[in-house]
């Protein structure tokens, strides 16, 4: 089933989705677009390349409250915070980002320990994938092709969307998506030429070239292991690194977090917040010892985690080549170039 | 009901705290909105204390120290003057009413000055109404 709507009427679609549940969609901010919970359907803005921050926050929010507690005289009362089971519509996710969810699933949802927060949110969410606009130039930072992802891959989406001139075509991919699509009465059925356009776009997506490097996950995993002690290399590639968390916070695949208690007036919340392996105190131990005091050690950890440890542990690279880290890096460190350099060693 | 502001006072041990004691010894009457934290010197006051106090819901913050030149530690309050003046400018540019933060030099013998300042400041903060901007909403 292929449906369509005029892009200028996108707010109508948004309004319908908002009635059914929570809508997360790109909105324009000063610096660019980001996913946000929509309160005003007019705010939904599909005129974007990709968001600054990845949509991972839909399942793994920057701040997830677990428990609310009250420190009492004899007993501390605690109450678990339940994830809202209301349907969520994650609208306008680029194919590389859709792919990132399945990689994160392994960690949060499949590797023996089920993270209830991630898994419940995943279940409640319908993903509206959205092909890149093939008429726009590729951003120089992107390299998702190198990871086998293409600009118009519907895989992983429940509904996949393609922009056709002034229209938006929506295709149900999964039964969940099909079902929802059928209920969205602001949409109209797409015509034959739309069908054709949709199919062609998927094909043309393969031709829409980002930077490309032949990355065999086992080769790179071994390579990085082999060059682990090549301090010259790591020092050189990290010499500009500021050790901030920009890259990891915008990354769709970084999942490290910290758990902290925030208490005021004896009442508090235990929550998890995003953490970054690039932070100095990320590995700081209670004893005061810190195994990764140097910038190069931290950057090496980040690259290795994504391209080596993750491969060994979960059988897949923890990177989708969305280019966000490169774009957000205050000093333009480019993970692609580092991998490229490493492979040459 | 009238709004009764909660005001955090931070007083240096040697001058303002002693001055506040003197106000009591001489049985001066003043509003009870100010709750005083004693520190050894006004220079002990970390600017973040002020930000934190406002986050904790203080409607105003009153800092008291020795008169410049009379600091028990010679020059502590001269540093405090610069550091707290800067704090005030920061609050102001952030859009916090400048009237919510005040620094006063009150010596150990100025019990009446302490009472006066508390009276004045309480009225001033009362007129500004509850401080909601920085207060952490539970």
């Amino acid at each position: 089933m292929l449906k369509k709507t005029a892009i200028e009427k996108i707010s109508q679609l948004a309004a319908v989705l908002m009635e059914k549940g929570t809508l997360l969609a790109p909105v324009k901010e000063v610096a660019g677009h980001n996913f946000a919970e929509i309160n005003d359907p007019q705010k939904v803005d599909l005129n974007f390349y990709n968001t600054i921050i990845s949509p991972k926050g839909a399942f793994f929010p920057p701040k997830e409250d677990f428990i609310k507690y009250k420190i009492g005289k004899t007993i501390t009362e605690a109450e678990q915070i339940k994830v809202d089971s209301k349907p969520v519509f994650l609208f306008g996710v680029r194919p590389c980002d859709v792919k990132s969810f399945s990689i994160m699933d392994i960690h949060f949802n499949a590797a023996g320990i089920i993270d209830p927060y991630w898994s419940q949110r995943r279940k409640a969410t319908t993903i509206f994938g959205y092909a890149y606009d093939l008429n726009q130039p590729v951003d120089a930072a992107d390299f998702y092709n190198s990871l086998g992802i293409y600009a118009a891959d519907p895989e992983g989406s429940d509904i996949f969307m393609v922009k056709k001139d002034k229209d938006l075509l929506l295709k149900g991919i999964t039964p969940k998506g099909e079902e929802l699509l059928a209920q969205l009465n602001t949409l109209v059925d797409a015509g034959k030429d739309d069908e054709k356009y949709y199919e062609e776009t998927l094909k043309k997506g393969k031709e829409y070239k980002t930077r490309f490097l032949c990355i065999d996950q086992d080769v790179i995993a071994k390579k990085l292991e082999a060059v682990f002690n090549n301090n010259d290399f790591w020092t050189k590639v990290s010499s500009a690194c500021l050790s901030c968390g920009a890259c990891t916070f915008v990354c769709p695949n970084c999942y490290c977090f910290d758990i902290c208690d925030d208490t005021i007036f004896g009442k508090g919340t235990r929550r998890r917040v995003w953490d970054a392996c690039m932070f100095t105190d990320f590995t700081l131990e209670a004893s005061g010892h810190n195994p990764r005091t140097q910038v190069y050690q931290r950057l090496r950890q980040k690259i290795n985690h994504k391209y080596s440890y993750h491969v060994k542990k979960y059988g897949v690279i923890s990177c989708v080549g969305c280019g966000r880290c490169t774009r957000s890096c205050p000093v333009n460190i480019d993970i692609y170039s580092i991998v490229e350099e490493a492979l040459k060693l | 009901m009238d709004f009764e502001p909660k005001i955090l006072g931070i007083a240096c041990n040697w001058c303002t705290y002693t001055g506040a004691d003197l106000a009591g010894t001489t049985r001066l009457q003043y509003p009870q909105n100010v709750r005083v934290v004693r520190v050894m010197c006004s220079s002990r006051i970390n600017p973040s204390f002020i930000f934190r106090a406002l986050q904790l819901g203080a409607d105003g913050v009153l800092v008291g120290g020795c008169h410049p030149g009379d600091c028990h530690y010679n020059t502590g309050n001269l540093y405090a003057r610069r550091r707290l003046a800067t704090t005030k400018k920061i609050l102001e540019f952030a859009g916090i009413e400048p009237g919510r933060f005040r620094v006063e030099w009150i010596s150990a013998s100025e019990g009446n000055r302490f009472a006066e300042v508390v009276e004045e400041f309480t009225t001033q903060v009362k007129n500004l109404g509850p401080q909601t901007k920085l207060k952490i909403q539970e």
Binding site: - | T25, R35, M40, I45, N46, F49, D70, N74, T75
Partner: protein, 649 residues
């Protein structure tokens, strides 16, 4: 988890009147970590103290909160209490609900509510308190006394007699102070010199006293038990080691200076001793009036000096003394009455101030003890004007305390030495001292005319040139009076020494509104100051008569002794320390510390604090961007927690 005991004091009705104390204790019992909460009539009394100690044992308390009067009042008392029960003294928190609460409100609702908030703050803070170990330091057994007036002399002698080494610093070239200027003392009329000069001599002779005349304190370093005090010896231009006090020099000297000792009534030589009984009996040269220093030649004194003691090249020198305690007894100045033009001082020669009159009576004074006016004539009528500048909101609010009595003394002496009519213009006659009222009664009988009314103005007389008219309102008859007299004696306000601010700064003393040095507590610590180890005695604390001054001198000596008799003492443990793991090496602490306690370890790239130098102000902790500096007992966590507790309710 802490085990906190809360002890709420009623302080009789002082607190209980405006704070519902039992409700406060009940409230305390509901707070987390509070295992026992009680209220009691007088927590500082023996039963109160024992209650706390019993509960510490019975409830295994590890924190104690006493909700009572100001910590400045009884923190030390209760620290002792918990320490004797086996708890570290720094685990005590005092909540001030008296001075800063019950005494400043009439509203019991308001009082109780605020008391709860304050107590809650204390509970938050108490949880984070840490036991601290007091530093034990060696105590220097010597004492410095600043000021060689009667207070300083008495204190120095008392201390010296116990075997304590005393340094007595005096700004002038002789000790003796104002008392040495007086002729008689009230109310007994005994001769001032007769009772003072033996003491001055005793100072000179005492082997335990090192007298440093013509000297000033210029720098104070260190702290109680270990002060390092720099003393400037002004250039005397006479080598006192060589001088044999023959005073031949003073006879030959052609220089003429104004005699400060005689309050400017006469001239003295450029090389001089201030008065014949001066101690030491050795002269100094006043540069300002010395012919050699003015014109470059003379040196007559040098020629006549057989001891070759004159040294025109002498420079001021600085020496450092190490002492364990200091007594400041720097006395007073008279207020300068020239700006009070209505009294005509400096304008009419017949107007005198009280110290000038003291000199007129003195047989060693400018007139040899004869009461004559500046023109040499004996006055036929004399007016004594009380409260010039004192008890006056425009100038000094305080009462100078001794003027009534010395005016009576003057009146008596005038009657004795002249046949003049004597008028007393007073606001109130204050004669609250042993024998004072009796002395007043005696004077009434001596035909002194008492006019209850403050002298308002002194003018010259148009009818009788040379005479003065004193204008006043007699408040008993409500009549406006104009009294013609030959001589007017002003009793100016007693004010702090002109340089007392500098001294206050040197010793870190607080001053009151008038500028007198502040005592630590007006009742319970009248001689101690906010600076540990520095005591005050005499008029530098507030105006008082000789008996009170001497009593304070004894007291201050005893206070100083309590410190220096011990060879070790405990210092407050509330110093700062550096957590090297958090230090970012910015050196802010090094830049700001007034005591140079922090220093930068170049090898480790972190700051370190010398706790012996730290006075615990906490400045370093607030300028430390990484919170690496822990201001013990006032740590960031403790202050933040207290703030949180205070703001909760």
């Amino acid at each position: 988890m802490s085990r906190i005991g809360v002890f709420v004091c009623h302080c009789g009705l002082n607190i209980a009147k405006t704070v519902r104390v039992s409700e406060l204790a009940e409230f305390a019992a509901t707070l987390p970590d509070v295992v026992v909460a009680r209220d009691y009539k007088f927590m500082c009394s023996t039963p109160g103290q024992e209650m706390i100690q019993r509960d510490i044992k019975e409830y295994k308390l590890d924190r104690v909160i006493v909700t009572a009067c100001s910590p400045l009042m009884h923190e030390k008392t209760f620290r002792k209490v918990i320490e004797n029960a086996g708890l570290n003294q720094y685990l005590l928190t005092i909540v001030n609900i008296r001075e800063q609460l019950s005494w400043v409100t009439h509203d019991i609702e308001e009082g109780t509510a605020k008391a709860k908030a304050l107590l809650n703050g204390a509970v938050y803070r108490a949880r984070l308190l840490a036991p601290l170990t007091s530093r034990v330091i060696d105590v220097n057994p010597d004492v410095l006394v600043v000021g060689g007036g009667i207070a300083g002399i008495q204190a120095a002698l008392e201390l010296a007699n116990t075997g304590t080494k005393v340094y007595l610093v005096e700004k002038n070239s002789t000790i003796g102070g104002h008392m040495a200027q007086f002729d008689k003392t009230f109310p007994t009329l005994d001769c001032s010199a007769c009772i003072l000069t033996p003491k001055m001599d005793a100072v000179l002779q005492h082997k335990n006293i090192q007298m440093l005349t013509y000297s000033e304190v210029t720098e104070v370093k260190g702290y109680v038990g270990n002060f390092d005090i720099t003393i400037k010896q002004k250039a005397r231009y006479v080598d006192h080691n060589k001088c044999n006090a023959c005073l031949a020099c003073t006879e030959k000297c052609p220089g003429k200076g104004v005699s400060e000792w005689d309050e400017g009534l006469v001239k003295r030589k450029a090389i001089y001793i201030p008065f014949p009984q001066a101690v030491p009996q050795k002269p100094v040269i006043d540069r300002e009036s010395c012919t050699y220093f003015i014109k470059g030649k003379c040196k007559l004194c040098q020629k006549v000096c057989e001891q070759k003691a004159i040294d025109f090249e002498q420079q001021e020198t600085f020496s450092t003394v190490k002492v364990g305690a200091v007594i400041v007894a720097t006395g007073y100045d008279l207020m300068d009455t020239k700006p009070l033009v209505q009294y005509g001082y400096g304008q009419y020669p017949g107007v005198y101030h009280s110290l000038e009159v003291e000199r007129l009576f003195n047989s060693a004074g400018p007139t040899g003890g004869k009461v004559t006016l500046r023109d040499g004539k004996e006055p036929q009528s004399i007016a004594l004007l009380h409260c010039i500048g004192s008890r006056d909101k425009n100038y000094c609010e305080h009462c100078s305390r001794v003027c009534c009595m010395y005016s009576l003394k003057f009146a008596h002496l005038f009657k004795e030495k002249t046949s003049a009519d004597v008028y007393q213009f007073y606001i109130d006659m204050r004669a609250a001292g042993k024998g004072y009222e009796e002395f007043y009664n005696r004077l009434i009988e001596e035909d002194v005319k008492f006019i209850r009314g403050k002298g308002a103005r002194v003018t010259d007389s148009e009818e009788e040139p040379g005479r003065l008219i004193v204008e006043a309102e007699d408040t008993l008859t409500s009549k406006f009076l104009r009294v013609p007299v030959d001589m007017v004696v002003l009793c100016p306000a007693i004010v702090p020494r002109a340089d007392s601010k500098d001294l206050a700064r040197l010793f870190n003393l607080s001053t009151d509104k008038q500028g007198f040095f502040m005592e630590r507590h007006p009742k319970l610590a009248p001689l101690a100051t906010m600076t540990e180890g520095v005591f005050i005695a005499g008029v530098c604390q507030s105006p008082k008569d000789i008996p009170d001054t001497v009593a304070q001198a004894y007291g201050a000596a005893a206070e100083a002794l309590t410190i220096v008799v011990k060879d070790k003492m405990e210092l407050d443990a509330t110093t700062a320390m550096v957590n090297p793991a958090s230090c970012c090496g910015c050196q802010n602490c090094v830049r700001v510390c007034p005591y140079s306690a922090p220093s930068f370890n170049v090898d480790k790239r972190v700051s370190e604090i010398n706790e012996a130098l730290c006075k615990g102000c906490g400045l370093c902790a607030s300028v430390c961007p990484t919170s690496a500096i822990i201001a013990r007992h006032f740590t960031n966590e403790q202050v933040l927690a207290e703030m949180e507790g205070l703001m909760e309710f």
